[in-house]
Amino acid sequence: MEFFASIDWMQMLRCFVVGGLICIIGQILIDKTKLTPARILVIFVTTGAILGGLGIYQHLVDFAGCGATVPLTGFGNALSKGAIEEVAKSGFVGAFIGGTKAAAGGIAAAIFFGYIASLISKPKMKKQ
């Protein structure tokens, strides 16, 4: 219970609000533009990567923590940040290694869990 005492609830609130607001932007895009889910995801990841490359997104991460890293913009930011860090370390090749390296955990997890889910589960009719 020592862990729960250590939680910064103001930080938690900032995380909730920022994460929720980013989702609202996505919802407005869905309802107003008729974009497909794949396009929405692409817009978010690319925006995140650009804002990350410009160093702007980090301010949002510092402010909201997971409220900024969990949405897909955070995924884009992680890709860019990884590329920049790796370039700083190993030069030109770093641009190709860094991004995927930073996101490797997430991508591998999605592939692996996706495969497992397809082994044990079957699609079902939507009720509504």
């Binding site: 869905i30 008729k34 889910p37 699609p123 079902k124 009719m125 939507k126 009720k127 509504q128």
Partner: protein
């Protein structure tokens, strides 16, 4: 048989719709027309491993059922006209591969069922045989998989979207009989008014329905009030409203006796089907289940059945093409 006007055929010795059969999925079985269908499934897979196999089984069993109900031995049926929505019409060709009846696979998107009735009646009236079988099927899950997204994807359906009906309708048309008769057919033209939104099929198809409706009235000299009911296939709520308003601007008031199979088959509020039903089976099952019984009970004596189709696929949608629509009409009278 003679052609009257620009695109209507009038039959001198009109063929009879002898018998119909319909099988629907569980969602349709929760809808307002449930009691009219011959069989309601409890599960969309119906014991099969894939959606495609399930749809094939549905059309196969519906066809077997209509043959059994009609009492006509299958050897005496001269032709089978059938179609569906899956690539290269595989549900019908796979489902009916053991049928042993000369087979025409036809595609008119969701207008397939009426297209089959048109072709069958021309064949029979022309003297090419005595009995023809017409069938069409669709399946919500196989259609979602082919045209939209995987079923488990957590997306929201826009309010203009329609729900593909799971099921199949089949009918046997006979050269001679006691009715209900197919007296006139009006095959439709392809009409494209530039609608690109694949989630608004009703709006894409409504101009085609209007075109066929006007052609039918013009060619036959009939007015909307001649029919007890005018039914479109799957325009849904939005398309229905558009058709009513556009027909009005052309001088035809169809408000009082017009409805749409996609509106009838689901309860919009309770079943959350947004703009209504769609798919080959929408018109197919509503006619085979509900309308045919209304004709048999003489509650309707003259109906105009007009199935609508959106002639599109997922590639053309992604390439940003607009959606051409079509509508075929058939006048059925006692």
């Amino acid at each position: 048989m003679q052609k009257i006007g620009k695109q209507t055929v009038k039959f001198d010795t009109p063929p009879t719709i002898l018998q119909t059969a319909s099988i629907v999925g569980p969602k349709e079985a929760d809808g307002p027309l449930a009691s009219y269908f011959d069989q309601c499934l409890e599960d969309e897979f119906w014991g099969e491993k894939t959606w495609e196999k399930a749809e094939s089984k549905i059309i196969k069993e519906t066809v077997n059922m209509v043959i059994a109900k009609s009492g006509i031995p299958s050897e005496e049926i001269d032709y089978c006209f059938a179609g569906d929505l899956l690539n290269q019409c595989i549900s019908s060709s796979f489902g009916l591969r053991e049928l042993n009846i000369p087979f025409f696979g036809i595609f008119g998107a969701c207008s397939t069922f009426v297209e089959a009735l048109l072709m069958a009646s021309v064949f029979l009236e022309g003297g090419a045989g005595n009995y023809a079988l017409c069938a069409a099927s669709s399946h919500f899950c196989s259609a979602e998989k082919q045209f939209r997204f995987p079923l488990e994807l957590g997306n929201q359906r826009p309010p203009s979207s329609q729900w593909t009906v799971t099921g199949s309708g089949a009918a046997i048309v006979a050269k001679n009989g006691m009715g209900p008769y197919i007296t006139h057919i009006t095959p439709g033209k392809i009409v494209d008014m530039g609608i690109k939104d694949a989630n608004n099929m009703g709006a894409a198809m409504a101009p085609a329905a209007l075109d066929t409706l006007l052609a039918h009235f013009k060619d036959t000299g009939r007015s909307p009030s001649y029919y007890d009911a005018i039914l479109t296939g799957d325009l849904g709520y939005i398309g229905k409203e558009i058709l009513i308003e556009m027909a009005e601007t052309k001088g035809y008031n169809i408000k009082s006796n017009y409805n749409d199979c996609g509106v009838l088959i689901f309860d919009k509020e309770k079943q959350d089907t947004h703009s209504g039903g769609s798919g080959c089976a929408c018109c197919g099952t509503v006619f085979s289940g509900y309308l045919f019984k209304m004709l048999q009970q003489k509650k309707y004596k003259k109906i105009l059945l007009m199935a609508t189709g959106a002639l599109t696929n997922s590639t053309t949608t992604q390439q940003g093409e607009s959606i051409p629509g079509i509508a075929h009409a058939v006048a059925i009278e006692l």
